[in-house]
């Protein structure tokens, strides 16, 4: 099951899988960044994606979130193809993501960053907003309550009025997670959540990821360079190398996979 030649044949979207990636490819000019990658993520799973630099991990996230168009293959959400949908539609279906190189709304405050993401929960019309109708005020109150809940959960409440661009690195990473959660996702894509964190923050991350899953009934897809962290927290993982999925399975299976050992330690191992 962990061999690239044993890749599953394309199905028409498995009904029980939350997310299914089928034979997904992405080509940038002459570079094949992703080569027919397939796997599926079950509801409630914490699924890891590891691989050396340039293996195509972030490209995979960009294809799943709709930021980059796929050159081939399909992305299925609850059994239906969403390959051609733009990022905002995919988010409204329940796919939220963070960015490896942090893309906060830096000119807005921490609280406003969350309010932007909360704009559909609940929805209110522009006219109601202009006239400041009771319905709009109720919606605003609900948005603020949710925002403060998330700020407290991610220990950002003290920083609510600070401009996002002025935060320390670790706080920005948590704000990115809070902002993604604010869109009310079923699947959260975390792109290198441990990058740039200090050792203490890294230690807390595993607990945070598990906590998020249980508190928000989330499924998580995590890209991480810090492999030991991922081994501890993931239920299953996929390994990418040069755009090809070379392994898939539980952390224990992946650890012993000869392809993975070769990719990480070189041909002599």
């Amino acid at each position: 099951m962990s061999n690239s030649s044993a890749r599953p044949t394309p199905l028409v979207g498995h009904p029980t899988a939350l997310l299914e990636v089928q034979e997904l490819s992405c080509r940038f000019g002459g570079l094949l960044a992703l080569d027919r990658v397939s796997f599926s993520v079950q509801p409630g799973e914490i699924f890891g994606v590891i691989g050396p630099n340039g293996a195509g991990k972030t490209t995979l996230f960009n294809l799943i979130s709709g930021v980059t168009p796929a050159s081939g293959g399909a992305v299925c959400w609850r059994g239906e193809a969403i390959t051609t949908l733009p990022p905002d539609r995919r988010n409204r279906l329940g796919v939220a993501r963070t960015f490896q190189n942090l893309r906060l709304f830096e000119g807005l405050t921490v609280l406003e960053n969350l309010l932007v993401a909360l704009q559909r929960q609940p929805r209110s019309t522009a006219l109601a907003g202009l006239l400041n109708s009771p319905r709009h005020r109720r919606a605003e109150t609900q948005r603020l309550e949710k925002a403060w809940q998330l700020l407290e959960e991610l220990e950002l409440d003290r920083l609510a009025e600070r401009q996002a661009g002025t935060l320390a690195y670790g706080d920005r990473r948590r704000l990115e997670i809070a902002r993604a959660l604010a869109t009310g996702p079923a699947l959260l894509l975390l792109d290198e959540p441990a990058a740039g964190l200090n050792p203490a923050e890294k230690e807390g991350l595993a607990a945070l990821i598990r906590g998020l899953r249980s508190r928000h009934q989330l499924t998580l897809l995590v890209i991480e360079h810090h492999v030991p962290l991922l081994m501890r927290v993931c239920d299953r993982m996929a390994v990418l190398d040069f755009g090809v999925r070379i392994a898939l399975g539980t952390p224990e299976q992946v650890r012993r996979d000869p392809n993975v050992i070769e990719a990480y330690l070189g041909g002599g191992a």
């Binding site: 979130s65 930021v67 733009p86 990022p87 905002d88 988010n91 409204r92 939220a96 993501r97 960015f99 893309r103 906060l104 709304f105 830096e106 000119g107 807005l108 609280l111 406003e112 309010l115 932007v116 993401a117 704009q119 559909r120 209110s124 522009a126 907003g129 202009l130 400041n132 709009h136 605003e140 603020l144 925002a147 403060w148 609510a160 902002r179 993604a180 604010a182 869109t183």
Partner: protein, 315 residues
């Protein structure tokens, strides 16, 4: 710039006084502020659009045509014009400009940054040439003797102030509602905004249409105030002047373009006593403004110091 100053000056001399800020100049300043807000709205959603003069020209031309050709509006033989008809024209001009923006915006808003700016300049030119050459818009001379709903220039202060108050109130409300927040998010990072579920195309289009509605209504008001209207009202010059309102005033709050519009419209008239040097001085202000106030005169920090801290959240 010269051409404009001269044109705008014409109705002021009609009422006699030119030395200090008289009511005629005040109305012009308010029109400048309104156009500044119109440029600010797309900019608040990260879109550099210079199309404001095109919508201003469309609104003004519509008002000029309706009031001089359509007898049902009730223009008097003595040049008077009923107030309800004037208000109807403001609405119609805003609606027509908004509709045009809706159609054009779907095309041009695919462009970003400087390319959008160039496409909107092209729109201004297309509208100008169209108004110049259409059989019913009076060619180069334009439309004359537009009837007056108010007997004096000071009468126009009320609708101009009311329109500005409405625009300011709208901008202020926007900040506390999803559309305004989506605009601010797009301005900071459009890709991140899309990944947070924001329909960025619809948001940008909304800002563009709001900007056009405001410019169209302002044009209708200006057409009556100026008494004559021609194609030169919406020119590339005006694109740059209105952009200067926002750059000098600051683009982080709607008060910035209001202050910029008021100041930069008044300046050429106030400098009139020094003769032709005034245009050089005017140019210097536009040039040096961004050097000394790179974020504009009105910054969020300044507003905070004036108004005390804005509290959004009940804790």
């Amino acid at each position: 710039m010269e051409r404009h100053a001269a044109e705008r000056h014409a109705p002021v001399s009609r009422w006699g006084c030119t030395n200090v800020i008289d009511n005629g100049l005040l109305v012009q300043m308010l029109i400048g502020a309104l156009l500044g807000v119109s440029v600010y709205l797309p900019l608040a959603a990260g879109q550099l659009s210079l199309a404001t003069p095109a919508f201003y020209a469309v609104g003004g031309t519509l008002a000029a045509l309706l009031s001089t050709r359509w007898a049902a509006l009730g223009a008097g033989a003595d040049g008077s014009f009923p107030l309800p008809s004037f208000l109807l024209e403001l609405l119609l001009a805003g609606a027509l400009a908004g509709l045009l923006a809706l159609l054009v915006g779907r095309l041009v808003l695919r462009l970003q940054g400087i390319y959008l700016a160039i496409a909107t300049i092209a729109l201004v030119e297309i509208v100008r040439v169209a108004i110049l050459n259409l059989p019913f818009t009076g060619g180069a001379i334009g439309i004359f003797a537009i009837p007056q709903p108010f007997a004096t220039a000071s009468g126009y202060l009320v609708p101009a102030l009311a329109l500005l108050a409405l625009a300011g109130w709208g901008c202020q409300r926007l900040e506390g509602m999803p559309l305004g927040r989506a605009m601010a998010a797009i301005r900071d990072d459009e890709l991140a905004a899309r990944c947070m579920g924001i329909d960025t195309t619809a948001t940008r289009l909304s800002a563009f249409v709001l900007s056009a509605v405001l410019a169209g209504s302002t044009g209708a008001l200006a057409a009556h105030f100026l008494n004559t209207w021609n194609a030169r009202q919406g020119s590339f010059d005006a694109s740059i002047t209105t952009l200067a309102f926002v750059i000098l005033g600051g683009s982080r709050s709607w008060l910035g373009p209001v202050v910029g519009g008021l100041l930069l419209t008044a300046l050429p008239e106030l400098l009139r006593p020094v003769g032709d040097v005034r245009l050089v001085l005017f140019g210097l202000v536009i040039l040096l403004g961004p050097v000394f106030f790179p974020r504009g005169l009105i910054t969020p920090g300044l507003l905070e110091r004036i108004g005390g801290r804005r509290q959004e959240a009940p804790r």
